[in-house]
């Protein structure tokens, strides 16, 4: 099986504060990985570094996507190659129409792949289809991007974007936080619909509950900028029962 994402000894800082301190992770094509870990351990930092946020400075290590160095690429180039980040805190962009952004995003990816741009009719049809899968009111298309959306609605909107973009690697940063049970099921449905031997999914979550709906192949624990333990889905259950202390202790011991 081919490796899609390969992270080696990644070190990254923000404002000269080291956050990631030698993180290594391999994600194979078709796999689902869950990343758990205490607040402030660096989960979102990892997600943002993979997506190309320019505030983080990579000081050492490498990130390969399909064997290609990702760190030299602009965020939009990464997106066009099929990397998708579902934000922990999606930003509100008043005045930028949600449908407009979705269509521009789809077309950016299509153009990169050498396909024709999607026309308005085809786009609307596709968007409606995905929205009904996610139980989303089509009215959200005509609003500003995340403008005035509730917490859960923002998360659903992230999944809608993912569903339309059909990324090869989706990193979902706490997409399950703040969701009611129906929304959680809808989001899980959206993610599971995407599961494919050619796609990989990285779920950042605090709750083992999500993993009942999206069953991961691997679970990792991130602590102080490093992966300190990896296992299968039973690790999530163990963490739920015992908290993080024992993993962290086991490492420092």
């Amino acid at each position: 099986m081919s490796i899609m994402l390969e992270i080696e000894n990644l070190q990254a800082s923000i404002d000269d504060t080291p956050i990631l301190r030698g993180l290594s992770l391999k994600v194979g094509a078709g796999e689902v990985h869950a990343i758990m870990g205490p607040n402030g351990s660096g989960k979102s930092t990892l997600a943002q570094v993979i997506a190309g946020h320019e505030d983080y400075r990579v000081t050492d290590g490498s990130v390969l996507f399909d064997g290609e160095n990702l760190l030299d690429l602009a965020p939009e180039e990464r997106a066009r190659k099929g990397i998708f980040l579902g934000f922990q805190y999606p930003v509100e962009i008043p005045g930028v129409n949600n449908a407009y952004l979705l269509k521009a995003a789809v077309n950016a990816r299509r153009t990169y792949q050498g396909q024709d741009e999607i026309d308005a009719f085809e786009f609307l049809k596709l968007a409606r289809e995905k929205m009904s899968l996610l139980d989303m009111d089509p009215g959200f298309l005509n609003r500003g991007v995340n403008e005035g959306f509730s917490g859960g609605e923002k998360k659903r909107n992230e999944i809608l974007q993912m569903a339309l973009l059909e990324p090869r690697l989706a990193i979902l940063d706490e997409t399950d936080s703040g969701l009611d049970i129906d929304a959680l099921k809808a989001v899980a449905k959206g993610v599971n619909a995407l599961r494919d031997p050619q796609r990989s999914i990285v779920l950042v979550t605090h709750y083992q509950r999500l993993l009942d709906y999206i069953v991961p192949d691997y679970v990792h624990v991130l602590s102080k900028g490093r992966i300190v333990r990896s296992g299968d889905k039973s690790l999530a259950l163990e963490l739920e029962a015992r908290g993080y202390d024992w993993v962290q202790e086991a490492v420092s011991a």
């Binding site: 320019e54 939009e76 997106a79 962009i93 930028v96 995003a105 950016a108």
Partner: protein, 428 residues
């Protein structure tokens, strides 16, 4: 630097050359009044950012042989009619085409040349630019909207007054009355006819009687050789609504004075603006909202996008006088700076002498939000695309409130073109 002074003798001679008509008496009074003040200088607080020396110099040169009479210019407005559906009246140097006035026969509205309206005492000469304007008027327009009349189609004034190939000076005056419960929409469009230097000085007066409502959109797309001072003053009686939006994309030196006086309870005044400037443009927006009676509501909402070496000024004031209890006055001015060499001066002012007053103001000067940029780029949009989208959205905040639907498409395209120019500039 010594301030340029307008030559009063030249002015007097130029006024003297104008034909005797219904405005003669007004011109004489205005001439005297102007002689007492002259042009404002940068030493005055209200004018400290805008130096009129170049305008004064051009005026002196022009006045030395100003014509005694001019005739209405022929401007082909067929394209304009397609772009914005309105009753268009072309005004050059204050003079409108009489045929256009005759053709305008909406029930409830009468527009006549100011010189024939027999009420030149209504023409305001209270400030230096207004008295300079009145002294040199070839003519003006008197607009009356009858009680209870609802004028559906906007009345458009096209100010295009530089047909001559030489540097010019022009005065435009429009005096509008809306009767009780009347409603109407107005568009004031400023354009350049040629490529010569010009100083345009316009004054629009609006009187809204009780229950009346007016929408007013001003679009300024003059050439960058033009200087323009525009004054709009409105007096609002009880239960009136006044929605004003000004769009500035052109001009070399632009100064807008908007003065709204609330004289009746339950009046609502929305005063909004967008200014986009680059190169060496200078755009100065001054607003005075004078709350004399309460309760009443006013909103000032201006946004600017400024690049190159342009300089823009926002000075909005809400004055809540004694007795104007229950006033709600809000001010907002936000700016995007697209270059290090551009400059913004933003100065919201509040003076409150009444009780139970709600006032809020906020101003910002900044760059595009980095989080928003990253979000868009993470979806595959190029940096350039993301920047244009966010810049457009920034101006869109005002445009989506545009009070005259007919003008929307035209303005969107105008802004789009200017934004292309502005966002292109920063790539260099």
């Amino acid at each position: 630097m010594s301030a340029a002074v307008l030559n009063q003798d030249l002015l007097e001679a130029a006024v003297g050359r104008l034909a005797a008509d219904g405005l003669t008496d007004l011109r004489e009074r205005a001439l005297v009044r102007f002689g007492e003040t002259g042009f404002p200088s940068v030493r005055e607080e209200n004018w400290r950012y805008t130096n009129l020396a170049a305008a004064v110099e051009l005026s002196n040169a022009y006045l030395s042989d100003a014509p005694g009479a001019i005739s209405a210019t022929n401007v082909d407005i067929s394209q304009l009619n397609d772009d914005i559906d309105a009753h268009w009246i072309v005004i050059s140097s204050g003079v409108a085409d009489p045929d256009a006035l005759a053709a305008l026969q909406d029930d409830g509205i009468v527009i006549t040349p100011l010189s024939e309206s027999n009420d030149s005492d209504q023409v305001c000469i209270d400030d230096p630019l207004s008295s300079f304007n009145a002294a040199l008027l070839h003519d003006g327009l008197r607009v009356r909207v009858a009680e209870n009349a609802r004028i559906e189609k906007p009345i458009g004034f096209l100010l295009q007054d530089d047909a001559a190939a030489t540097a010019g000076l022009s005065q435009t005056r429009i005096v509008v009355d809306l009767g009780r419960n009347a409603s109407a929409s107005f568009i004031e469009l400023h354009r350049s006819g040629g490529d010569s230097a010009h100083f345009a000085n316009s004054v629009v007066q609006m009187e809204l009687d009780a229950g009346a409502s007016a929408n007013f959109v001003r679009i300024q797309e003059r050439s960058t050789k033009h200087m323009q001072i525009g004054r709009l003053q409105a007096r609002l009686q009880e239960n009136t609504t006044f929605n004003f939006t000004t769009i500035d994309v052109g001009g070399k030196l632009i100064r807008n004075d908007v003065a709204v006086t609330i004289e009746g309870a339950h009046a609502v005044a929305n005063v909004c603006g967008v200014y986009l400037a680059d190169g060496n443009q200078h755009i100065d927006n001054h607003i005075l909202l004078d709350h004399r009676v309460g309760p009443a509501v006013s909103m000032q909402d201006y946004r600017g996008i400024v690049g190159g070496r342009a300089r823009c000024i926002f000075n909005g004031k809400a004055l809540v006088r004694e007795g104007a209890d229950g006033t709600d006055a809000e001010q907002s001015n936000r700016n995007l700076l697209l270059s290090d060499t551009a400059e913004i001066d933003t100065k919201p002012e509040l003076e409150i002498f009444a009780d139970d007053v709600k006032c809020a103001h906020g101003t910002t000067v900044g760059q595009l939000d980095k989080k928003e940029l990253f979000y868009l780029r993470s979806r595959g949009l190029s940096h350039e695309q993301a920047r244009i989208l966010l810049t457009r959205a920034f101006a869109g905040h005002i445009l989506k409130k545009l009070p005259i639907e007919n003008a929307k498409k035209y303005i969107d395209q105008l802004i789009e073109r200017k934004l292309d120019q502005l966002t292109g500039d920063t790539d260099q």
